[in-house]
Subunit: 166 residues, 2 copies
């Protein structure tokens, strides 16, 4: 089962495709990173063009990796309203693209993601990156941070979905 | 020249396709309503499905009417943050769909729309609906209100774009 985690943002949208591999015999179920990255858009480009780029790239990721689920970090209204609008819009594009492709869509709050991955809702960026690296058996904390955040959302979904385990 | 005006909203997204018909001889340039309506989504449906419906319907409107421009009312952070997120997301979908179709995209604030259509930024809903009806030579104020608001955004764009006149 593939889960595409999304950490939405207009300038930088993190994505992480995580595969859950069922265990058998003495082997435990494990998770592997299939693709981690960031979709960037040029802050100098028109707003609509940046949104169209994010939509196009999200559709391309869905077409390439065919995840079962797209898990998106839920948007909250932040101090910087201008940034929050872009975040909300990219989250909306990801969810619309996922639903249009017939995929399940799940949203998780930042606190839910932190609790699921690091064990407590107050975990900081460094702790989260380290835990994502460990859970995905990577040689070190994944870079860049937005990709690690997106992978954390995917891991959060897998941890909340026990029906996905064998 | 066709302009598609959009008054974004998740439950109800108003749209208004307005055509500007250049004058000739003694005939003045005039504007006509080509299509006015509302894209509705079921508040009981999952959020992602509602976004996908809005995206799909917006793409269908663009394909049907082939506007040159999509003019969208600019989103502000409102008292109701939950509503504002949906509004921002639908505005984002409309802009992404327009840019992906190669169209020009313009955003106008509610005050700009009111000033352009009713002559002052403090115009109320009734005044706006009446003015939209007059500018489009309709037999009465257009219904529903969301469609009138969307047509007002299209009219605002035409008023700001003198290069579009002959």
């Amino acid at each position: 089962m593939f889960v595409l985690g999304v950490d939405p943002g207009l300038s930088r949208c993190g994505y992480g495709v995580v595969e859950q591999i069922p265990g058998s015999g003495t082997r435990r179920t494990r998770t592997e990173a299939v693709a981690l990255g960031v979709i960037r858009t040029d802050p100098e480009a028109p707003h609509a063009a940046r949104l169209a780029t994010q939509m196009h790239e999200m559709q391309a990721l869905i077409a390439e990796f065919r995840p079962s689920v797209v898990a998106v970090e839920r948007v909250f209204f932040q101090v910087n309203a201008r940034t929050a609008i872009g975040v909300a819009q990219v989250a909306g594009l990801a969810m619309a693209a996922a639903d249009a492709a017939g995929l399940e869509v799940a949203e998780y709050t930042p606190t839910q993601v932190k609790q699921a991955v690091a064990g407590w809702g107050g975990a900081d960026k460094d702790q989260m990156q380290r835990m994502v690296g460990e859970l995905l058996a990577l040689p070190g904390p994944p870079e860049p941070a937005d990709a690690a955040d997106a992978a954390a959302v995917a891991l959060c979904h897998l941890s909340q979905a026990p029906w996905a385990s064998p």
